[in-house]
Amino acid sequence: MVVIHVIVTALLGAGIFFTLVGSIGLLRFPDFYTRLHATGKCDTLGGGLLILGTMVYHLFQYPETLLVPAKLAFLIFFIFIANPTATHALMKSAYKTGVEPWHLGEKRR
């Protein structure tokens, strides 16, 4: 049981780390496009790892209800499809409405 707890803690810890990095990137990066790099990627893996952690925990703590991990697996699947699509949609609309991309050496906005 201890091994499972270590694995679950590692997964949740990694998930929290990547979500935190995404938030820090959102604050530090200079413009809209680079901020999307931070949030779009880190939220996908961070959220996925958090859900995977709860999945493993549930699987070994309550093995009699296999339906809950199955539902969580669906959740991961849909996040991994929806997140890049949403990031791409934001990026495209920003580009079409003429948001100027930041280049090296410019002042941050």
Binding site: D31, T34, C42, K71, F74, M91, P101
Partner: protein, 169 residues
């Protein structure tokens, strides 16, 4: 032949929806199973063309190749996150954003969507727009190296062309 395609489309839709119903409802008594399956059958007959559009050759082989492609893509996602974490946490923020354009030989709807989403999830690049007629991609890269990975190496384009059996780049 057309009738057969329609039948397999209905069957595939029915199977997918039945699996979803059984997994998500969690009710295994006779009443709920039968009423769920009847509803699945009705919806599958009425609107199967929304999910399974047209026929595709060698669909099974393509799905198998997609299954092999997915673990590689997952590993790329992990690399992408480590890359972003490095750039975010580095005191001097080593970024040099640029917008690049390139053309691919890919034309299929599904392969273009897969490539666009894969670009967004892999290190340092996000798809801005795709022109399906010319296979032209406009991509925002956060630094020079990820841009070169798409323009020069073209590993991902080749992998996706292999998965969907379209002419490689």
């Amino acid at each position: 032949m057309r009738l057969k395609d329609k039948g397999s489309g209905i069957l595939l839709t029915f199977i997918i929806m039945a699996v979803f119903w059984i997994l998500l409802s969690g009710l295994f008594d006779t009443f709920h199973l039968i009423s769920g399956l009847v509803c699945c059958a009705l919806v599958a007959i009425l609107s199967h063309d929304l999910l399974v559009k047209g026929k595709s050759e060698k669909g099974i082989l393509k799905s198998l190749r997609l299954l092999i492609y997915i673990p590689w893509e997952l590993w790329q996602i992990v690399l992408a996150n480590v890359d972003v974490a490095y750039r975010v946490l580095h005191p001097r923020m080593p970024i040099d954003p640029r917008i690049i354009e390139f053309e691919t030989e890919l034309r299929g709807e599904f392969s273009l969507v897969t490539l666009a989403n894969s670009i967004t999830l892999t290190p340092g690049t996000i798809t801005i727009s795709v022109e399906p007629e010319k296979g032209k991609f406009r991509v925002h890269a956060i630094a020079k190296e990820p841009a070169d990975a798409l323009l020069v190496d073209q590993t991902m384009q080749r992998k996706i062309a292999h998965v969907f059996m379209e002419t490689g780049v």
